[in-house]
């Protein structure tokens, strides 16, 4: 069959890729075991052609999808394209390949028909436990070995059958093997669905047409992104900020970004950022690349830009090996907070030349709370992990939305109080938006979240709250948003003590803590705020004066 290349076929095929990825997403969300997958949507899905070029995706968690090509390419390199067969599935979680922390596991399915590889499906999902030194995600790990089992590209399914010994190895190294298998099966069911649909598409149009259209889709998208970059004045733009500390040593962690726009190309260089640190906020290079891609997509004017292999051909990402942005083994990488900061800093660096596109400081962290203990009523162990929302930055279009997740996490949903209290002996005493927490300005930053927990039995809490030293900044005269902070009230310290990062802090029955996340940055001077907007905020209790 010869190739048909016309805009109609291209559009039909492009629509099909995104529909397939969306349907796979529905499959996972419906059948997964881990709350973090089905409830929070902590996963990303991407379809690739046989050359590992991105065709379409479900961007649920955009930082995931932006890095899925790295694990796939490593898999192809390890096994050789000629050795990949229909029904084969591989997995990889090595941070220094995929960029993500070890819990974020890539599962790669081979799409093949009649002996020929047509493409790949890659799904990154957060696995509940992959054998960390302690349950949950340590704040204070000192090397990658404490962060769980690490594996390079590994075959887990051959011709549709599990590779049993490898599956056993994974299960034996997890505290929750059944959940792990449940989540894996959900990923595999989605891969099966996606493969069937991709083969159906190939049979309908022919492989040559599919490939020719793919190239046309990439070129169109590449042109659009280059047009956008060309619209930004040439120049060198910088921004810098800090993560509070690395969880092990108290010094701030420097993050510096230099964005160079030259014609239709954009280079993002992280030189000047900290060398890789003793604590675990380092990250693999692939994660840095993903963050840059996400920042560009956020700046791009369409609300729903086309994301495929053409989207990011015009960007180059430079990170110094051995720095926090391209860490080398055995650096600990569990909580790569500077990656989140990087997204925000790229936006800030370009704010002077893209004042209508940007927003002031965005939610600066995922503000994690992890509780663990044994419920005396049932005698059973429990764990509960959450990421909290914060205030989004204001922009030229208006006030920032309140209580949304960090930009890296996209469609991630917070945990309902009713679900949390049902699953763990916790009582939430208060969950509200913080008065005066959004940065003041012509347009106000979004409000933060204040959430008060009471332990109903003895337990421990692990906290990761960053961005106190560099709160969500205001832009063009707008003020910074409120700083994140956690105050713990115990019988020993009834007045409360301030904590932001801590590993397994013991709480006795009746102890409480109040978590306050960051407020969004304001945009423009507060002197220009419309009086009716001020009055409305006052009437709603968003501000106190």
């Amino acid at each position: 069959m010869s190739a048909t290349l016309d805009p109609i076929t291209s559009e039909v095929i492009r629509n099909a890729y995104n529909a397939i990825a969306d349907d796979m997403s529905a499959m996972i969300a419906r059948s997964a075991y881990s709350p973090i997958i089905y409830e929070a949507h902590d996963y990303g899905i991407a379809l690739f052609d046989r050359h590992a070029r991105l065709l379409g995706q479900y961007a649920g968690l955009p930082l995931f999808t932006g890095g899925l090509d790295a694990g796939l390419k490593a898999t192809i390199e390890r096994y050789g394209l000629e050795n990949l067969k229909a029904g084969d599935v591989y997995t990889v979680n090595d941070t220094f390949i995929t960029g993500g922390h070890l819990n974020d596991v890539d599962v790669v399915g081979v799409i093949a028909d009649e002996g020929e590889v047509l493409g790949f499906i890659a799904i990154r999902a957060h696995w509940a436990d992959i054998g960390t030194a302690e349950p949950g995600f340590p704040v204070n790990s000192r090397n990658i070995f404490q962060e769980g089992v690490r594996w390079g590209p590994t075959k887990i399914m051959e011709g549709g059958e599990f590779v049993r010994d490898v599956i056993d190895l994974l299960c034996l190294n997890s505290r929750v093997p059944r959940t792990l298998m449940g989540d894996l099966k959900a990923q595999l069911a989605a891969i099966r669905l996606g493969s069937e649909r991709m083969i159906w598409l190939k049979n309908r149009f022919g492989q040559e047409t599919i490939e020719a259209c793919g190239e046309q889709i990439f070129q169109t998208t590449d042109r659009k992104f280059r047009d956008f970059i060309s619209s930004i004045p040439d120049g060198v733009y910088t921004a810098q900020g800090t993560s509070d500390d690395d969880g092990v040593t108290p010094d701030p962690v420097e993050a510096k970004v230099t964005v160079t726009i030259a014609g239709d190309r954009m280079t993002v260089d992280t030189h000047g950022s900290s060398k890789q640190r003793a604590g675990n906020l380092n990250t693999g290079y692939a994660n840095t690349v993903s963050a840059v891609r996400l920042a560009l997509a956020l700046l791009y004017p369409d609300a729903e830009p086309d994301i495929n292999d053409g989207s990011f051909r015009a960007i180059e990402v430079i990170a110094e090996p051995g720095s926090i942005y391209a860490a080398e083994a055995p650096a600990p990488c569990m909580r790569p907070h500077p990656v989140m900061l990087l997204i925000d800093l790229i936006i800030k660096a370009l704010s002077d030349v893209l004042p209508d596109h940007v927003a002031a400081g965005l939610p600066g962290d995922s503000w994690n709370i992890f509780l663990m203990g044994v419920d005396p009523q049932t005698g059973k162990g429990f764990t509960s992990g959450e990421a909290l929302d914060g205030g989004w930055g204001a922009s030229a279009r208006g006030d920032g939305p309140s209580a949304v997740i960090h930009s890296a996490a996209g469609d991630f949903r917070n945990m309902p109080v009713e679900t949390l209290e049902h699953r763990a002996p916790i009582r939430i005493r208060r969950l509200e938006l913080g008065t005066d927490s959004g940065g003041a300005g012509k347009f106000r930053g979004g409000q933060n979240v204040i959430k008060e927990y009471e332990a109903l039995c003895d337990m421990t809490v692990t906290l990761h709250f960053d961005r106190a030293r560099t709160p969500e900044w205001g832009l063009f005269g707008g003020e910074d948003g409120a700083s994140p902070v956690v105050t713990v009230y115990t019988t020993q310290e009834p007045e409360g003590s301030i904590v932001r990062k801590v590993e397994q802090l013991p709480l006795a029955k009746g102890d409480r803590f109040v978590a306050e996340t960051g407020g969004g940055g304001g945009y423009g001077p507060v002197s220009q705020r419309a009086p009716e907007a001020h009055a409305s905020d006052l009437a709603d209790g968003v501000i106190s004066a």
């Binding site: 805009p7 109609i8 629509n15 529905a26 419906r30 881990s34 959900a186 509200e432 209790g541």
Partner: protein, 698 residues
């Protein structure tokens, strides 16, 4: 109207020989009526313009047009979008929300997710209740349903004063864990209802007994926001109907069943999709009689395309969805909507061809409307290819093919394509989008669309149905009799349906099956009594006992039916439930986990008061007014780039049982059906138009 009606069937050919059964579907532009008269055995349809903004006069106008005078007994079965539209257009009630102290912002905070992750400026729609209108009460119930703190009388008294001062039309109440134990909600509700007569007080537990506080709050808020609009409408309509002797009014609910209009006004959430679900209900009615147990129901209008399923003769119902950007927890027929319609605009995206989701709307509308529109639309593509005739009328418009061709040719030039190829391309892309939407709803349920027939109704559906069917590998398309009034026709055969649900969240091994049986029985008693009070005889009351089951640790559930005889044998329940659950799980997900424990999340009881008026009676009835006939003629349509001589036939002139080879166009008063060259058409013995894919038939 408040008096309890005599116990007779809502739609019974036996007891009420002299009654007219009337289905009325009030749409934004037109109101359709379908009527079966038991006295004459005749079936008829009427179309009248709708009467915005109040809409109820169009019901009276339709009844008048159908010659139903004040002496007739009539049962009116009704679908309306009046409250849905008020909600979507933000014209609902001024309302307040009452929450648990400390949780005032649950509603505004939502779930924190950003559904367009690359949109820096993403924001959700403005909440329906402002923060200043959200009040809190010191009260608390724990996750296991224990009341930790009951609301104090003084606090309630203070709340009453503040609500009085606020001038609200409706108050929603949602307290934490009320799905488990609504005691505190009940207490505050009673107090507010006593103190605030005339204000709708809607606690969450009365419309939703499911967990997740944001979604339940949202459900209660939409109920409060939309119900007063519905109630005003129904009150006006019922008052007007009092002029008509012995008229009884029922409203179609989102779950595909009817409820008595007098009860509908306080629970608008239950009938929010009253209008859109009509077509699916009609599909369900058609399914049994026409011999298609599995149907894909499609409705294509000017701006949107809606698809829903009938599986094994039953509507596919979902218990959660988003409407207007807000979640709703309530049983609703699963209707998937995308922005694809006759008005969808083709556009050039940096050299790539795109169609929709933007629509030209009515003004300027497609280029062929002649209102100054220059952007080519799907309707323009249809007329450019000859699928719609130049100069044909469309409502009160006359379509201009030359304007459509000009717009398309101009648009096509930068792509290096001629106008005809572009017109075909626009149709190919929009058809593909509609097929993708259907794949979405089938794939998500583990269903193979090739096992289905497609039923097409509504303005543009029959024009595109064969092309969509081909893409899906579907070999049969049904264009029902009275395709233009299909929803109204379906309402005639709807059952009265009431649902009850309770979240239980219990490991299946620990279930006390006797207590489940007790819940089902007592719920059946409540709902059964309600059906009887609505006029359903006991022998027509049926119950379905369902449990929502999942593997322990999962969130999403599948529903399993528990027959009453099984519940009477508790020792068999677990194993039988497990077998049924796993069979369904394999069907949907392709695998199961036999080693895993099961959890029962929710009990659901569905009570049906069966209609006695069935599709057989209706399909066998003769038309009161035979279909108008015009002479057959010949025209030309371009199919895939080739101009083909095409017959234009009047539906009423077709001989039942005879095969008409494509290409041809079948015209009737309310719809135009395209039969492409690879399809043939026939009229079945029930009067349905059936298109068959010829390659599949061979």
């Amino acid at each position: 109207m408040a008096a309890s009606p005599a116990p007779e069937t809502i739609a019974g050919s036996g007891a009420s020989q002299d009654r007219a059964y009337v289905g009325i579907d009030v749409g934004g532009t037109f109101t359709d009526l379908a009527m079966y008269d038991t006295a004459t055995g005749l079936f008829s349809t009427v179309k009248v313009p709708s009467s915005p903004p109040t809409f109820w006069p169009s019901v009276i106008a339709a009844l008048d047009a159908a010659d139903i005078d004040a002496t007739r007994s009539a049962t009116v079965l009704h679908g309306t979008t009046v409250h849905l539209n008020a909600f979507l257009e933000r014209r609902g009630a001024r309302m307040a929300l009452v929450t648990t102290e400390g949780f005032r912002d649950i509603y505004e905070m939502r779930r924190g997710n950003r559904v367009r992750p690359y949109d820096m400026h993403f924001r959700y729609p403005e909440p329906l209740v402002k923060r200043r209108d959200i009040f809190t009460v010191a009260e608390r119930t724990s996750a296991d349903g224990t009341v930790l703190a009951a609301p104090a009388e003084a606090d309630i008294a203070q709340l009453v004063e503040r609500l009085k001062d606020g001038g609200y039309e409706a108050v929603a109440i949602c307290f934490l864990h009320s799905y488990r134990n609504p005691q505190n909600e009940v207490a505050v509700t009673q107090a507010l209802r006593e103190a605030l007569p005339g204000i709708l007080v809607g606690p969450s537990h009365e419309v939703c007994r499911e967990w997740r506080e944001y979604e339940r709050t949202s459900t209660a808020v939409i109920n409060g926001y939309a119900s007063p609009v519905l109630k005003r409408y129904l009150t006006d309509l019922l008052t007007a109907l009092e002029e008509k002797a012995n008229t009884r009014l029922f409203l179609l609910q989102s779950n595909g069943g009817l409820m008595r209009a007098e009860d509908a006004g306080d629970r608008g959430i239950l009938s929010l999709l009253s209008g859109p679900v009509g077509g699916n209900v009609a599909g369900r009615a058609l399914s049994e009689e026409a011999g298609f147990p599995n149907l894909i129901c499609i409705d294509m209008g000017g701006t949107s395309f809606e698809a829903s399923l009938v599986v094994d003769g039953q509507s596919v119902v979902q218990t959660e969805r988003e409407i207007g950007g807000f979640p709703v927890l309530s049983p609703m027929v699963d209707i998937h909507t995308i922005g694809a319609g006759g008005g969808s605009i083709a556009w050039n995206d940096a050299g790539a061809l795109r169609v929709g989701p933007q629509s030209a709307g009515a003004r300027p509308g497609p280029a062929c409307y002649g209102h100054g529109g220059t952007e080519p639309t799907v309707t323009d593509a249809n007329i450019a290819l000859g699928r719609l005739e130049d100069g044909c009328s469309f409502g009160n418009l006359t379509l201009d093919a030359a304007k459509a061709r000009d717009a398309i040719a101009t648009f096509a030039a930068p792509f290096g394509m001629d106008g005809e190829a572009m017109a075909q391309g626009i149709l190919d892309i929009i058809n593909e989008q509609m097929a993708n939407a259907i794949r979405t709803i089938t794939v998500r349920r583990g269903i193979d669309p090739r096992e289905f027939a497609l039923v097409a109704y509504g303005g543009a559906g029959p024009m595109h149905a064969a092309d969509i069917a081909r893409l899906l590998g579907v070999s049969k398309v049904v264009v029902p009799r009275a395709a233009g009034a299909f929803s109204a026709w379906g309402m005639l055969q709807s059952d009265l349906v009431h649902d009850m649900a309770e979240t239980v969240l219990i490991d299946a091994r620990e279930v006390d099956w006797a207590s489940f049986a007790q819940w089902f029985d007592s719920s059946a008693e409540t709902l059964g009594a309600r059906l009887v009070s609505e006029g359903v005889p006991r022998e027509r009351v049926h119950f379905e006992r369902l449990v929502d089951v999942r593997y322990v640790g999962q969130e999403n559930t599948l529903s399993v039916v528990l027959p009453p005889e099984l519940l009477a044998a508790p020792e068999k329940c677990l194993a039988t439930m497990r077998t049924a659950f796993e069979a369904e799980y394999v069907k949907v997900f392709g695998h199961s986990n036999p080693d895993e424990a099961l959890e029962v999340a929710t009990l659901r009881l569905r009570a049906k008061g069966e209609s006695a008026l069935d599709a057989r009676t209706l399909l066998a009835a003769d038309d009161a007014v035979p279909e108008a006939m015009t002479a057959e003629r010949e025209g030309q349509i371009i199919f895939d780039g080739i101009a083909r001589a095409t017959r234009f036939i009047t539906r009423g002139g077709m001989t039942p049982g005879k095969d008409y080879a494509g290409p041809c166009v079948i015209e009737e008063a309310t719809a135009t059906t395209i039969v492409p060259p690879d399809f043939s058409a026939t009229i079945d013995k029930l009067g349905n138009l059936i298109l068959t894919f010829e390659e599949a038939a061979r």
